[in-house]
Symmetry: C2
DNA sequence: CTGAAAGCGCTTACAG
DNA sequence: CTGAAAGCGCTTACAG
């Protein structure tokens, strides 16, 4: 590989001059610049970004930690993050943790040694060790589709699950439903509990009575949805509508109903949450609350970009270290949108 | 950030000693090593991988160029690649080209300046400029889910589309079908033309007459499948089976048939290609040819790993340059597997 | 077993 | 406008 020295030697100038020409510094003669550019073409020279990074303490790479890249939800999110960051010249390194806590930690450790400029993270396990690791990070970080644990002062971008759940249940109520069931994710999951809270609060607000028989939680897959629908139907056959806390659960419910020849939305209405590609399939046509993945990804990227710029600038203007000069920007709560398809109908 | 010098100073030894201790060189006393390890803990020191990479000309990062990370097919593939490479200590950088030729080129250029150790690529556009760029790469490369253009001597890992198409059509023929239609991707796509070739050859081999009326090509989406099925049904209403060259097309066909109350598989059988998650949905249950994504990803990773090791070793043993010492390993053609679900039935 | 020195490929004050 | 020198944080012969 030819390097800057080869170019300099070939041109009979110093490496400093070549460097300045390449980096478009103003204080270099037009003619020299032209020659340098020509030599670069001729030798097919590519500056070594590693060396540059070492000296500038800036690598133009961002780490993106995600639970599972083969989950369409996260891959779309990742895509949105990447697109924005790419625009600004950053390369994003996906850390595909595969829901493995050790891999998450390793990724963070890696981010440090590899001198990433910033991190966008969606950790799955927030054990004390991970939190500690994150707290020691010297680089800008933003949580994505997660809430920041209280120990950390780091901004997050997440959808307002509680609000969205309220919207979903309200929608059913406005359609005239009163006997509404809930199929939910594991209770210990933050997302799951927020959506359940939205359900309960909205029901209560409208003074609609409900019982624990109307609620089944514990999973996130189609299979779980199927089982939950089965349970719900046996325990509360009078239900006219179901709020499924994610689309996969909703699809599972739809499946059980199809198998048991209970027609949707004629006999029962279903609303989901996520707006996966699945939801739009001809057989499914699931009304759902959309988690705006592109918007979320973009906002997280933008937030991180701002933090990085703040940091870069504070380096220039002051000698203070990062903690002093940077204020944590505000977190962002994003609203989910109702997507009406054909799985709900007005009652009576 | 504390660096190796801080550790050395604190311990009153030289940086070389610290370096050797960290990297487990044998020639360092047990006691020194212990002290170094302790200091590392104490200072929370993390070696700078950038500096190390610069000097060792090895970054332990692999670039993975994919057309679209939000396509579940590719994200599963990427996942498989990443898992294997991670095992061996490599970090993979996803290059999400979003089917944009410029982004593909930029990614390759980036791979050079950032000194990646190797590349696994699934380029979308193979224009001369891209090919030229690739040909000048000094690092090991493997094509994944693509065939290497003849100008390049680079191994590939791909499924045997032709063979798989033959298997699919054979399956229908063995079921007793003779009036078989084909819904295909754009003809200019290699994959599309191979699958079509498999269809034609197998029909001919069995001396089954077919006409151009039985074939509709040109797209890869559900919508295309719907339109194609519509055309096919009007042009050749006697068809008893359809080979859809990908699952999305198959699903589109299924959708059109459902809308038009033509039952599957009673009135018509459908076989797809890919085995997307969709195919297993209760309403769809599409029999299909599976492209083994995990196997493909693993094999590509393994191949690249071998090439990298060869290169690393040849550096040690000889002074020859890479081209001399390395022989291109053989490409791998992977067999697709028939997944029987409920969209095909024996005739008569 | 350990240290001093050179060097990886760049950038950046500093001096002229 | 240009060059010599120092330095980013490491590793690696070489000498002892």
């Amino acid at each position: 590989m030819t390097n800057i020295k080869d170019i300099a030697k070939h041109l009979g100038v110093s490496v400093s001059t070549v460097s300045r020409a390449i980096n478009n510094h103003s204080d270099v003669s037009k003619e020299t610049k032209r020659q340098v550019m020509e030599a670069i073409r001729e030798f097919n020279y590519r500056p070594n970004a590693i060396a540059k990074g070492l000296i500038q303490k800036k690598t133009f790479t961002i780490g993106l930690l995600i639970p599972d890249i083969s989950d369409p939800f996260f891959s779309a999110l990742a895509n949105a993050v990447e697109e924005m960051l790419f625009e600004y010249g950053y390369q994003v390194v996906y850390g595909n943790a595969n829901r493995n806590p050790d891999k998450e930690k390793q990724f963070i450790a890696n981010a440090i040694s590899r001198q990433f400029d910033g991190l966008i993270i969606t950790p799955d396990s927030l054990d004390p060790e991970l939190i500690h690791l994150i707290s020691e990070l010297q680089m800008p970080v933003v949580f994505l589709r997660r809430r920041t644990p209280k120990e950390l002062s780091i901004p997050f971008v997440d959808v307002d699950h509680y609000q969205a759940a309220c919207t979903a249940v309200n929608y059913l109520i406005e359609l005239g439903h009163k006997q509404i069931g809930f199929i939910g994710m594991p209770e210990k999951s933050f997302t799951g509990s927020e959506r359940l809270r939205g359900f309960k609060d909205t029901m209560n607000k409208h003074r609609i009575v409900w019982g624990t028989d109307d609620i089944v939680v514990g999973g996130r897959t189609i299979e779980h949805g199927r089982d939950a629908m089965d349970k719900l139907h046996r325990r509360s056959p009078e239900l006219t509508a179901i709020f499924a806390a994610n689309d996969l659960l909703g699809i599972g419910a739809l499946e059980w109903l199809a198998v048991n020849r209970i027609s949707v939305p004629e006999e029962i209405s279903i609303i989901g949450f996520d707006n996966l590609e699945y939801a739009d399939l001809h057989w499914i046509q699931l009304t759902t609350m959309e988690q705006p993945r592109v918007e979320m990804g973009n906002r997280a990227a933008r937030l991180l970009l701002d933090m990085i710029n703040d940091k870069d600038n504070s380096k220039e203007f002051t000698a203070h270290n990062i903690e002093d000069s940077s204020v944590v920007p505000p977190s962002e709560l994003i609203e989910a949108r109702l997507i009406e398809r054909k799985s709900c109908r007005p009652l009576g």
